[in-house]
């Protein structure tokens, strides 16, 4: 199947050949951030893909951005280290003031500012975002922020973060999602003034942390758009995030299929390549078919997003199908490799752990299914 944006794909693949399995294995072992890789991608302009040309970016769509992310994963690299640098700025671009855009977007496009941390999830609210407890209270020309976030990834490698906080209690609004606001926080100085970041050791090397706000004072100009509208502002950003992560899953899936196919042709047991056995072939073939289907869904969701149409259902379905395809491909690839799949040097176990994340983050499978059930099929609301 020929894919769109082949020239972009080729350029990304070429860059990625400089970051082979060994590079990622070492980073994984040391829980280190892949700075060199991120720097190369940044300097080559790939992370400024979605920034309009008037702010120094390439002014391309999610379709091109998806091609970039897919090829990173298909090359065995891990775009999780920097995918958010592509899309987090979208909320500012669509809802921020001209001052905020000028302060941020050209710097991101040039590669000297990083906005790739997004604080939504909290320890006690779970997926029920309306119950977040972090608050921002107006105090003259400032806001004072108090509360706690968890799983805030890449904040140690960001200059700014986007934060969702309550500016009004949940009970005070007409709907549970009212009364939340988005803030663009300069974290370069915040660590001395009430922001504490604690790294979280996790199953995957994702630079993820817990973040504590203890009366952090930010200027009123940090507010994005209008007070109380935050949830609506982050929604289209979430769709972009889901589509891009779905593209990453398609890339992972392609990597697993490629590795499994190669290994099945080469590994000989019982005097024959294991790939001669249909018991080994079929799971690979099924993975291939599932991946192609998911890839079409991702493409169509990205095209909808780019044409400005509503794409909530498609973005969710793309994420669901692609994450399922990549997780099954991961399992298939591990099984095809037998014991060697567990050996670090094959990279299979690492990619297996990495792609598992996307069953849970940024949105878990059950929550997508409940969205489809309720909002697409009109089934009774369950929660």
């Amino acid at each position: 199947m020929t894919k769109k944006h082949q020239e972009i794909r080729d350029a990304v693949t070429q860059l990625c050949t400089h970051y082979p399995g060994e590079y990622w294995r070492n980073k994984d072992r040391e829980e280190a951030y892949p700075s060199e890789f991120v720097e190369a991608l940044t300097m080559a302009g790939f992370l400024g893909c979605l920034i309009p040309e008037k702010y120094g970016g390439s002014g391309l769509g999610l379709s091109e951005a998806s091609a970039v992310m897919e090829e990173i994963q298909a090359s065995g690299c891990n775009g999780g280290a920097c995918h958010a640098q592509m899309y987090t700025m979208g909320t500012v671009l669509r809802h921020g003031s001209e001052d905020q855009k000028r302060m941020l977007l050209p710097g991101i496009a040039r590669g000297d500012l990083r906005l790739q941390a997004f604080g939504v999830t909290e320890p006690t609210s779970g997926t029920d975002t309306s119950r977040i407890k972090t608050t921002a209270v107006k105090d003259g020309n400032n806001y004072r922020i108090n509360g706690q976030k968890v799983w805030t990834s890449r904040i140690k490698y960001s200059d700014f973060m986007l934060l969702l906080a309550r500016t009004q209690p949940r009970e005070a609004g007409a709907k549970p999602h009212h009364g939340m606001s988005v803030f663009l926080i300069d974290i370069r100085n915040a660590e001395k003034n009430g922001l504490t970041i604690k790294p979280l050791r996790a199953m995957v090397n994702h630079a993820t942390t817990e973040v504590f706000f203890d009366d952090l004072k930010v200027p009123a100009s940090a507010l994005v758009g209008e007070e109380g509208m935050g949830f609506r502002y982050i929604l289209d950003g979430l769709n972009a995030e889901r589509i891009l992560i779905a593209a990453e899953c398609v890339g992972d899936s392609r990597w697993f299929i490629e590795r499994a196919t190669t290994y099945a042709k080469e590994r000989e047991v019982f005097d024959r390549p294991i790939g001669k056995n249909q018991g080994v072939q079929f799971p690979i073939a099924r993975s291939y078919a599932e991946t192609q289907a998911a890839s079409l869904m991702v493409e169509s969701a990205a095209d909808l997003f780019d044409s400005g149409d509503s794409c909530g259902a498609e973005a969710n379905m793309a994420k669901l199908l692609a994450a399922d395809a990549s997780w099954r491909a991961a399992d298939m690839c591990l099984q095809t490799h037998g014991g060697f799949g567990f050996a670090e040097e094959y990279d299979v176990e690492r990619k297996f752990r990495e792609t598992r994340l996307y069953q849970v983050a940024p949105i878990s499978t059950n929550l997508i299914l409940s969205y489809i059930a309720e909002h697409v099929l009109g089934l009774p609301r369950s929660f």
Partner: protein
């Protein structure tokens, strides 16, 4: 100054080469194709000369099937200004390519042509030398350094047993060796700009060049499969095997 770089579309260097079942050549259908790595070095060198202000225009030329335009686009994305494709479907041998390049040189009047020292598919290592001879130009082959002056160039060549530095008059043909430079990645903004750069398409007939192959390939074979190694128990056994089985000492 104007520079022409020649870029060839070849099977990507990461691809495991397979011989066609009928032994007429290697499999290229559904195989990833890329720019010949030595040509990437040639493009990089040309762009660096342009960035240093010594060169005004860089033209990337490819000869072959229509898909060679992708290879030219890669050169344009790296920074070349425009492209020329000499489109034809027959197999091109070094002499034919040298003649086509000569015709283009006569149309474009560059002062410098940079080509890879060889292409990784046929490893001929002939085109640059043939082109220089046909044009009656100087040649600096296997270059690991090129220092361009007003009407001459100092070229460091990688020769057996060391480095040789020669002074050449311009116009000249250079062929690139691996250590000449490290080619850049095409950046996203440049990939997008490259889409708008022009590629002229010509035919060998328009250039008046006869490209009929002069050589016939009889048969292409896989290299012999490497034998599995053996573990030896001791140094004595190793020496014995080297002496009596391998007969190398």
């Amino acid at each position: 100054m104007k520079v022409i770089v020649a870029v060839k579309r070849v099977v990507d260097y990461n691809v495991k080469i397979r011989v066609k079942p009928d032994h007429t050549g290697v499999e290229t259908t559904n195989v990833k194709m890329s720019m010949n790595p030595f040509d990437e070095i040639a493009v990089e060198e040309a762009i660096r000369l342009q960035e240093s202000g010594k060169v005004e225009e860089v033209i990337a030329v490819s000869c072959g099937i229509s898909q060679c335009q992708e290879t030219i686009r890669t050169a344009l994305a790296m920074g070349a200004d425009r492209g020329i494709l000499v489109e034809c479907d027959v197999e091109l041998q070094p002499l034919a390519v040298a003649k086509l390049l000569k015709a283009i040189v006569q149309n474009e009047n560059p002062e410098i042509v940079i080509v890879g020292k060889q292409a990784i598919d046929d490893d001929s290592n002939q085109t640059g030398q043939m082109l220089a001879a046909l044009l009656g130009w100087s040649q600096g082959t296997f270059a690991s350094q090129i220092v361009l002056g007003e009407d001459s160039a100092k070229v460091t060549r990688e020769v057996d047993g060391g480095l040789e530095t020669v002074n050449l008059n311009i116009p000249a043909v250079f062929t690139t060796d691996l250590r000449l430079n490290e080619p850049r990645y095409a950046s996203l903004p440049n990939i997008m700009k490259a889409k708008k750069k022009p590629i002229d398409i010509l035919t060998p007939e328009q250039l008046g060049v006869d490209i009929t192959p002069r050589l016939t390939t009889l048969r292409v074979n896989e290299p012999p499969v490497r034998q599995a190694g053996v573990m030896v128990e001791s140094v004595t056994e190793l020496v014995d095997k080297l002496k009596n089985e391998a007969k190398v000492i």
